[in-house]
């Protein structure tokens, strides 16, 4: 029984996402391919892993995301930049804005492709909050992304 518990904890630790979240954030949920963090004002960081059988490249996903988020949903692209995670993987980051319920909301979306044997993993880290809070927190979140494993 003890062996099973140790095995499960070890497996979780091996698969769980880790990130040194910025100072004002606390991690509220962590699991395999999942991490959620919040500030007192409920600025959100949500990191998730998605399976990708197509094994498409990061360039492909960048175009696919931009096509959907900008053309289909009507978000506004504020900035686009390269980003690097804690393992040194190169990803891409989009800063988006949309006005929801009369208030401008911004998102920093970072996407990484983790190559696998039969399928890739797409890791998406999203930071979403009001525009003003975003500007105050984004530098810390960008720094935190470099510790994402």
């Amino acid at each position: 029984m003890r062996f099973i518990v140790v095995f499960v904890v070890a497996a979780c630790l091996a698969g769980c996402l880790t990130m040194q979240v910025p100072e004002r954030f606390i991690v509220i949920e962590r699991g395999p391919g999942l991490l959620k963090a919040l500030t007192p004002e409920e600025s959100r960081i949500w990191v998730r892993d998605f399976d990708d059988d197509t094994q498409a490249s990061i360039a492909f996903w960048k175009d696919a995301l931009k096509a959907d988020l900008l053309k289909n949903r009507g978000y506004t692209l504020v900035k686009e930049s390269p980003v690097q995670d804690g393992a040194g993987r190169q990803g891409m980051a989009l800063t988006l804005e949309a006005t929801l319920g009369g208030r401008p909301v911004r998102e920093l979306m970072a996407v990484f492709v983790i190559p696998g044997f039969l399928s890739n993993t797409i890791r998406v880290a999203e930071f979403v909050t009001d525009k003003e809070a975003f500007d105050a927190e984004v530098a810390g979140v960008a720094q935190a992304l470099t510790t994402l494993h």
């Binding site: 998605f50 959907d68 506004t76 401008p104 998102e107 979306m109 999203e126």
Partner: protein, 268 residues
């Protein structure tokens, strides 16, 4: 052997002569084409960059001729370098455009933009809230777009170019023809003795005069539009609302449907 060589030389000469003739023919026809194709442009466009003092074409141009209006049109698209600008300058093009920009403070950005428009010889046409329509000298149209792109996040941009070279050419030809006809009628009028003839000729002269005034007005209007491009700019402090759900489609890539601002806000 000699006969064979002679035959070869003769064949070669014929070939060379044919080539020379063909090349000469091509050159001649191309030159002729150039003359024909460039003649309207040359007619309208003398020094494309002659006038750039902010004087409006409608007031500067001689009535009945594009004159300085055509001279002022130098769209010189920033995109066209390497000689294409010369080709573009020969055309009479009306440029219009619109842009929506996200800027930190809309009013401040708008005021700064208007100052720059005035400094470059343009003017404000209309203003409603934070949307302005300005007229800028054609030569400043693309630089102005570039300036706007650098001053904020572009959320929408549209540029239209309408080539009116043929239209202007046609109006000027019709105007010239009408003017000649009018002059002929005036000469006939001078020698007319019967009252009926005089009245009939005067009616025709009046009709032609009215037609000519309309054509001159149209030319002035075109000249103004060519010389000054129209640009509508909307300054926004915030991004617009996303498209409502009924107007959206789902991505074929499942995971993309699970990310985005709304998903994080409402599905966290």
């Amino acid at each position: 052997m000699l006969r064979f060589l002679l035959r070869c030389v003769t064949r070669a000469d014929v070939g060379v002569a044919s080539l020379v003739l063909w090349a000469a023919g091509c050159a001649t026809s191309e030159a002729a084409y150039d003359r024909v194709s460039s003649s309207p442009a040359a007619y309208y466009d003398e020094p494309a960059t002659k006038v750039d003092d902010g004087t409006r074409a409608s007031s500067a141009g001689t009535p009945g001729s594009l004159g300085s209006a055509a001279d002022q049109q130098t769209p010189a698209p920033a995109e066209s370098g390497d000689g294409k600008g010369i080709e573009a300058a020969k055309r009479l093009v009306i440029y219009t455009g619109s842009m929506a920009l996200m800027v930190p403070v809309a009013d401040v950005a708008l005021t700064g933009f208007l100052d720059k428009v005035v400094a470059m010889g343009g003017y404000l046409q209309t203003r409603a809230a934070t949307t302005v329509t300005v007229r800028v000298p054609a030569a400043q149209f693309f630089p102005t777009l570039e300036l706007l792109r650098k001053s904020g996040t572009v959320t929408d941009e549209q540029v239209n170019a309408t080539d009116v070279t043929k239209k202007v050419f046609d109006i000027e030809l019709r105007l010239q023809t009408a003017d000649e006809a009018r002059k002929r009628l005036i000469k006939i009028l001078e020698s007319a003795t019967r009252i009926e003839d005089v009245l009939a000729i005067e009616v025709q002269i009046r009709r032609l005069t009215e037609e000519m005034e309309l054509m001159k007005g149209e030319l002035r209007n075109l000249g103004d539009q060519i010389a000054f491009s129209t640009l509508t700019v909307t300054f926004m402090a915030n991004a617009p609302a996303p498209r409502p759900y009924p107007d959206r489609t789902s991505s074929r890539f499942e995971w993309i449907n699970d990310v985005g601002v709304e998903k994080v806000l409402y599905g966290f």
